[in-house]
């Protein structure tokens, strides 16, 4: 490895940025905003993050980190434990296996991909939550959550793209894609 202790520490800190950022977004998403009806349709910010990093730098958000993010979401929002973990991990797996379809594509194509992915993710969480509760949960809030998540994608990814620049490209030295 190159550099001094501080350099390495700096590197590690930077590589923890995607995970840290995702956790911070989860925290923000549960803060009461006192906007009518908002708490039921709060966007899945963690999903945007997982989607983005799975396409651009999957190594910085390994499966175990996605698992942790999902659990954190479940702990804070009071959903059945494991629900978001399953949804985010399956999303992550699907995206990582189809990464090349997205890499280097225009923003609109990636956003379109997110339309499909976020719909599937909200649908899956609806199916899981309904199965766990033994009833069919009303779908309206889920639909609005999906739309809001989809609409927030450009804002969030602009931020992620800026953040990505501060993360060192050490991962490129290791044999990879």
């Amino acid at each position: 490895m190159k550099g001094s202790f501080w350099h390495r520490l700096d590197n590690i800190a930077r590589r923890l940025v995607p995970l840290g950022l995702t956790l911070v977004f989860i925290l923000f998403s549960v803060v009461p905003l006192h906007i009518p009806g908002y708490s039921a349709i709060v966007p899945m910010l963690a999903l945007i993050s997982v989607y983005y990093w799975a396409i651009h730098r999957p190594r910085l958000l390994p499966p175990i980190a996605v698992f942790a993010v999902g659990l954190a979401q479940d702990f804070l929002s009071g959903t059945p434990l494991g629900l978001h973990a399953v949804v985010l991990l399956l999303t992550y797996g699907a995206i990582v296996s189809q990464r090349r379809a997205f890499l280097g594509k225009s923003f609109l194509v990636v956003w379109w991909g997110f339309l499909v992915v976020s719909f599937a993710a909200v649908l899956l969480s609806w199916v899981l939550a309904s199965a766990l509760s033994g009833t069919l949960i009303e779908t309206r809030a889920g639909v609005f959550q999906f739309l809001l998540t989809f609409a927030l994608y450009p804002v969030m990814t602009t931020l992620f793209a800026r953040v990505q620049r501060v993360i060192p490209q050490v991962a490129r030295n290791v044999p990879g894609p």
Binding site: L27, A72, L132, E138, P175
Partner: protein
């Protein structure tokens, strides 16, 4: 399917698969509501509670400022409305005083022992945003403040929900609109008993209504106190629709302004030995 990471592909996939399985396992475990899962939940919320507490304060202040501006624009009509209301309430005040005096004399006649001792614990809502599938909030008070599972959580208006999990310094409150919320209630006028069952919609249903129940829209629904967990007579909501099939209740609590709540520390008379004075009086009669 193409392998994105040929060298680590197998390992990665195995890790992913086992994590998915672990998450599914956790889901099943949490469905069984084991103590372990609850400890984990409350442990995590306890750690994060101070952060959420700090984060939610400026947001609440902002919301308040916006609210203030909105209120300024309708100060005049609001004032007129409040004057009218004061006049109306003054009349009620007189009625209430008279009834209170009546009540006191009648109770004295009956040697009635007060049913319960009630104290309040105030808490601030530090997180909501559960998404489409749950209706619950986190509050910044926990077991060390005297919160226990099952206690009623109220605002100034009426019942908001019940404490469902308690950590040391944080607790989760299951709102009465949640899928899992079941609250024994009674209609204030007709005294019809029922269970208020949440279904994640804004208006929970009344279930287990007696067959001959006649509820009309506008009737007030209060807690019945059955089961001993909740004090009786807390305002819950107002019947909005009373069709053939389902009766729905509009909760009295304004969910969008749920910032401070009070948790009712309620001791039912059945749970503690009757005071000696009461015993003596009862024995004498």
């Amino acid at each position: 399917m193409r392998l994105a990471v040929p060298f680590k592909g197998m390992v990665q996939r195995f890790a992913l698969l086992s994590l998915v399985l672990a998450a599914v396992g956790l889901m099943i475990l949490s469905k069984a509501e084991t103590v372990l899962i609850e400890r984990m939940r409350t442990g995590v919320t306890d750690v994060v509670a101070p952060v959420l507490d700090a984060l939610s304060r400026p947001v609440a202040t902002m919301a308040e400022i916006v609210d203030n501006f909105r209120e300024l624009t309708r100060l005049r009509p609001e004032n007129a409305r409040l004057r009218a209301q004061i006049e109306r309430l003054n009349a009620w005040h007189g009625v209430a005083r008279r009834l209170e005096a009546d009540n006191r004399t009648l109770r004295a006649l009956l040697n009635f022992t007060p049913e319960e001792r009630v104290t309040f614990i105030s808490a601030r809502v530090i997180a909501d945003g559960g998404g489409p599938f749950v209706r619950s909030v986190l509050v910044n008070a926990g077991a060390r403040d005297g919160l226990r599972k099952g206690q009623a959580v109220v605002t100034g208006a009426g019942l908001a929900g019940r404490v469902s999990e308690t950590g040391g310094r944080s607790a989760r409150v299951l709102l009465l609109t949640d899928l899992n919320s079941r609250i024994p209630v009674v209609a204030e006028q007709s005294r019809t008993r029922a269970i208020l069952a949440g279904d994640n919609s804004a208006r929970p249903r009344l279930v287990f209504l007696p067959e001959n129940a006649k509820l009309v829209p506008g009737e007030r629904i209060v807690t019945s106190g059955h089961g001993g967990a909740l004090p009786a007579g807390l305002l819950v909501g107002i019947v909005t629709s009373a069709g053939e099939g389902t009766v729905r209740v509009e909760p009295i609590v304004d969910w969008d302004r749920l910032e401070y709540v009070r948790v009712i520390d309620f001791e039912s008379v059945t749970l503690k030995p009757a005071p000696s004075g009461a015993k003596r009086r009862r024995g004498g009669s």
